[in-house]
């Protein structure tokens, strides 16, 4: 359970990082918080020859208000997300998600950028950023670009990052008035990766659902948006919300993949149960908030 030998470089600027990528290609691996990469290295599932530590790169930390959105630096750690007053006010779903991620000793080191680049299909954040319609801000040898979160995840541990590119920040639109959000998951033990989970956002106008984004994790080969299920919610009166059409649409539009413990049929069942529970919980919390 010891990592294979590697060369460690703490890069201090993007140019230095690009030179190393140019020289080593895929053998160079970026390390952010290391909470997924180091276990993979310990088990020799990852054997980078060069480890590029980006903790010292400028411009990757901090959580800022940019007007319509909150810009979260890629190196922001889970505890930073949880303790950010800006996020608590404008994007409470992120704070709610952190409580479900691993354990305190992991939350102190794990970063949002590292999590998204790693793209574990059962991890919370890839679903959360899709539910929030966030953009992933990327910098690489060709300059900067920004990708909608819904297009960033390509498969299990596969994302839209070319060699030499890294995530620099995540830009999350501020929640409009009338937004409800929630996250729930089924786990075998507290802190585990989810057997099935959902991160949902409902935008309510005059008591009716005007827009819905339902992201599921731990169900398919990646975190996915259930667009047909979301469409069944739009137009419904919140107080009389019927989840059944959404559950039905969800069951047909997603293609669950088995993990170590649950097969596709179980996953399809679990995400249906969770969808009903989470929607009911969101409706009930909105009633309390207004009443």
């Amino acid at each position: 359970m010891k990592a294979a030998p590697f060369d460690y470089v703490r890069v201090s600027c993007f140019e230095e990082m690009q030179e190393i990528f140019a020289a080593h290609g895929d053998d160079a691996q970026v390390i952010a918080g290391g909470q997924s990469l180091i276990p993979a290295m310990a088990m020799r599932m990852a054997r980078p020859s060069v480890l590029l530590d980006i903790a010292g790169l400028p411009g990757l930390s901090g959580i800022e208000d940019t007007g319509d959105a909150i810009r979260i630096g890629a190196m922001a750690r889970y505890v930073d997300l949880r303790e950010s007053a800006l996020l608590a006010t404008h994007v409470p779903l992120i704070r709610d998600a952190v409580a479900l991620i691993a354990h305190e000793a992991i939350r102190s080191r794990g970063t949002i950028g590292g999590n998204l680049a790693h793209a574990d299909p059962a991890s919370e954040m890839p679903a959360v950023v899709q539910a929030l319609d966030a953009r992933i801000d990327i910098r690489g040898p060709e300059g900067q670009r920004s990708v909608p979160a819904a297009e960033f995840f390509l498969g299990t541990y596969a994302v839209d990052l070319a060699p030499g590119e890294i995530i620099v920040s995540v830009t999350v639109p501020k929640a409009p008035a009338g937004r409800l959000s929630g996250i729930q998951e089924f786990v075998r033990r507290s802190g585990d990766y989810a057997s099935a989970g959902g991160a949902f956002v409902l935008d309510v106008e005059n008591g009716r659902i005007a827009a819905a984004r339902l992201a599921c994790f731990g169900v398919c080969d990646r975190a996915v948006l259930a667009e047909q299920a979301a469409a069944t919610l739009v137009g419904q009166e919140l107080a009389a919300l019927d989840p059944e059409p959404a559950v039905k649409a969800l069951a047909s539009e997603i293609e669950p993949t088995a993990d170590l413990h649950n097969g596709p049929a179980t996953k399809r069942h679990l995400i249906g149960v969770l969808t009903k529970r989470l929607l009911a919980d969101m409706v009930s919390r909105s009633g309390k908030a207004h009443g």
Partner: protein
């Protein structure tokens, strides 16, 4: 044989420099290079929590960080908390309630409980269980560990209450 590099960090309040290979974890560095063996190594992939240490004031897994990443960091281990009042209360109640059998998980449990009590004004059983859920104990079960944590919290709160009272009397 791996080549070694000098690593300078603050360890239990003192600045130290030691040579270590690039692939050595912080937990191995503490035990093998520095000789501080309170930090235990169980699973070596971030699951069990036996290697929990403070990194820059927050608990972290000592096996999920390479020592070379800790350059310039402030590391505190169980040894560095020997004179800490909160840690002493936890140790006393772990002892009194047999909150250990083999002791392998204990230092990680103590560090985690220490941060928990430091971060909560009014600890609850439910929260303590959630907080400690990242640390595995394979022999006692968790009941006594949670009980000891809450008992230490009660003792510290009572002491703090006495101090407030004394301060009140002194002012009067």
């Amino acid at each position: 044989m791996d080549s070694v590099f000098p690593i300078t960090l603050t360890l239990n309040g003192r600045t130290v420099t030691h040579d270590a290979p690039q692939r050595m974890t912080l937990a191995d560095f503490l035990r093998q290079t520095v000789g501080l063996t309170a930090t235990h190594i169980g699973c070596e992939h971030g699951v069990c929590g036996a290697c929990t240490v403070y990194v820059d004031g927050r608990i972290a897994r000592g096996c999920l960080m390479f020592a070379i990443q800790a350059e310039g960091c402030d590391i505190r281990t169980l040894e560095g908390l020997a004179d800490d009042e909160r840690m002493q209360a936890l140790q006393k109640h772990f002892h009194a309630r047999n909150a250990l059998q083999c002791g392998f998980c204990t230092s990680g449990m103590l560090l985690t409980a220490h941060q928990y009590l430091g971060s909560q004004e009014e600890p609850s059983r439910e929260e303590a269980r959630e907080y400690l859920s990242g640390n595995y104990c394979r022999c006692t079960g968790y009941q006594a560990i949670v009980e000891a944590t809450l008992a230490a919290s009660d003792e510290l709160a009572a002491k703090a209450g006495c101090k407030d009272e004394e301060a009140g009397r002194a002012e009067a």
